[in-house]
Subunit: 343 residues, 2 copies
């Protein structure tokens, strides 16, 4: 059987490195997936030149959509939404909306991408707000899905409930987990546990048969493997994720210092360099995995602004998996099922 | 000049280890501070027996306040407040309120301690809610004060403003920092930056001449040394702090795995054990430093529930510093100054 044709639009101009990262990632993705067709959105002459240098100018599975403009990392979301209709980011989203590609990937300005994607693609029925979800590492080796990582600052109980559903679908469909354990991120003390929204979301979740809801989880258990899906509002998720990055930096710094302080160890420090580097990368998941913007009528994967070739390639792979597993349709089905069961 | 007489009440029964940790810590503190007088609150026969084993039964600077009851780690705050009036925790707080001691230290149930301390000691004029503050490590070596770590879940702008003031006083008085840099913890995206409370708190802080307010900071900069005082609501602070603990555990696990995978490194793994252990401890600040409950008319230091002798001793030292620097009076003065300037 011929594998399904996969079509993606890539925002080639986004991120700190632009085509320097996105071109080699695109070329590598085409090699990896023989059924992948790419539409490269961006400054076409520039992209053609970069492709020529990479020896892939007339690749049969590459198309271009020339964009005069691009969204900068400093653009405010509302301004980008209003003024950057001819940007590579907007073009990539438009292609998804028009059904010309199955998904898009961008390493650009997160706030602008969320605002544009929300406007262009619209929400799925039954979902009020979009969420950014990413797979984090865990002590047990298998990843943990955490959402929202910053798309929706203030979440009411219904929104948290919808995020729990969407996260479970991601864990099932993209990771192949059976009945993933879903938890709400909360603080530790029993009586004063969390806000009213969280308490009400906990009620909704415990009454829902479609989910394996296991209750509250605290920050120290995010990576312990207790839960497969961890749900919180975008503010808390963003702070938690970025705090991980801060801790990883601090530990790296400390490890370097303690290696320096131990002369024998210093001689052997080179032995640990790869281990420390891989640790650091593992603890910076949003640098190295794509985060998916879910809840929309289309697939959008956000690669880190500082994405290297490997990071952007990893975001392309994530988009491919979501296309293959038809994530938005599965989220829609699941939410409809819940509504039917409630009725 | 004779050094000032220092008087502390210790809740000897709190924490997972009770007198097993608190007795040796008390004995060590008496050795360290020749001007320190301790009132040990708890089961007197049990404490006397433990002191006898430690060779310090008739120590001239120890008094007892016998408590029939104790607050357990599982007690709900409201229940502890109502029913545990004869507990060692409550007795220690009562002694502070009655002016018989200058401060108290407990490793007991955090929620119960906050509720009881709030009820017994009352808030300082001008402060609406208490905050838990702790000194975290940073890349630059000097500690960072972060608050609130879980005392007040929902904070309005005024509360965040008061926390900023209190944190600055702690950094100045306890750490001796001159004009400490104060930041609000927020998420990254410009336009959608934070909740309304945070935006309004930012306004209040930027209009205040008594503070060196430097703006927003993100989670990845908590430990970078950009700010000396980091302000957030208790929910976010609690999640961030506990997430640090989770990351530290994950990194420890990963480091162990990567040492195992590298045979030559495995032979030398013992060299790194102390470094990794100290890293882990450094990243678990609430295990190893006391957290101060501030905004009250008295000094209360919370040691971690799982406190060892060293951790409880460190909390006693923290209480001593706050007594010496008269932290509550300084907070009161600062807040009054702000109110006068506003008027």
């Amino acid at each position: 059987m011929q594998p399904l044709k996969l079509t993606l639009a890539l925002d080639m101009m986004g991120g700190d490195h632009g085509p320097q990262s996105t071109i080699p990632a695109a070329v590598a993705a085409l090699q990896e997936f023989p059924n992948l067709y790419l539409t490269l959105c961006g400054d076409q002459p520039l992209l053609e030149h970069a492709l020529q240098l990479a020896g892939a100018l007339s690749h049969p599975r590459i198309r271009f959509l020339h964009s005069d403009d691009q969204v900068s990392m400093a653009d405010k979301p509302a301004v980008a939404l209003r003024n950057k209709r001819n940007s590579s980011m907007r073009h990539a989203l438009d292609l998804v909306e028009q059904g010309q590609v199955q998904a898009c990937v961008s390493a650009g300005n997160t706030g602008a991408l969320i605002a544009m994607a929300h406007y262009v693609l619209k929400m799925l029925n039954g979902v009020e707000r979009p969420a950014l979800v990413s797979a984090l590492p865990s002590c047990h080796g298998k990843p943990v899905y955490m959402l929202d990582l910053g798309a929706t600052v203030n979440c009411d109980a219904d929104t948290l409930f919808q995020f729990a559903m969407m996260g479970a679908v991601m864990a099932e469909e993209v990771m192949g987990l059976n009945s993933p354990k879903v938890a709400l991120l909360n603080m530790g003390e029993e009586e004063i546990k969390g806000s009213d929204q969280i308490k009400r979301a906990a009620q909704l979740l415990s009454q829902c048969n479609e989910l394996n809801y296991i209750g509250y989880i605290e920050g120290n258990d995010i990576f312990s493997g207790k839960a497969d899906v961890i749900v919180c509002d975008g503010f808390v998720g963003n702070v938690a994720l970025k705090t991980c990055e801060g801790v990883a930096k601090l530990i790296l710094k400390r490890a370097q210092q303690s290696i320096k302080q131990r002369p024998l160890a210093a001689l052997l420090g080179w032995l640990f360099k790869p281990a420390i580097k891989s640790l650091y990368q593992g603890m910076n998941p949003d640098h190295y995995n794509g985060a998916s913007l879910i809840g929309l009528r289309g697939i959008v994967v956000k690669s880190h602004g500082n994405a290297t070739k490997d990071a952007f390639l990893s975001a392309i792979r994530q988009a491919v998996r979501e296309v293959e597993r038809q994530v938005p349709a599965k989220i829609k089905d699941r939410l409809e099922q819940v509504l039917i069961d409630k009725a």
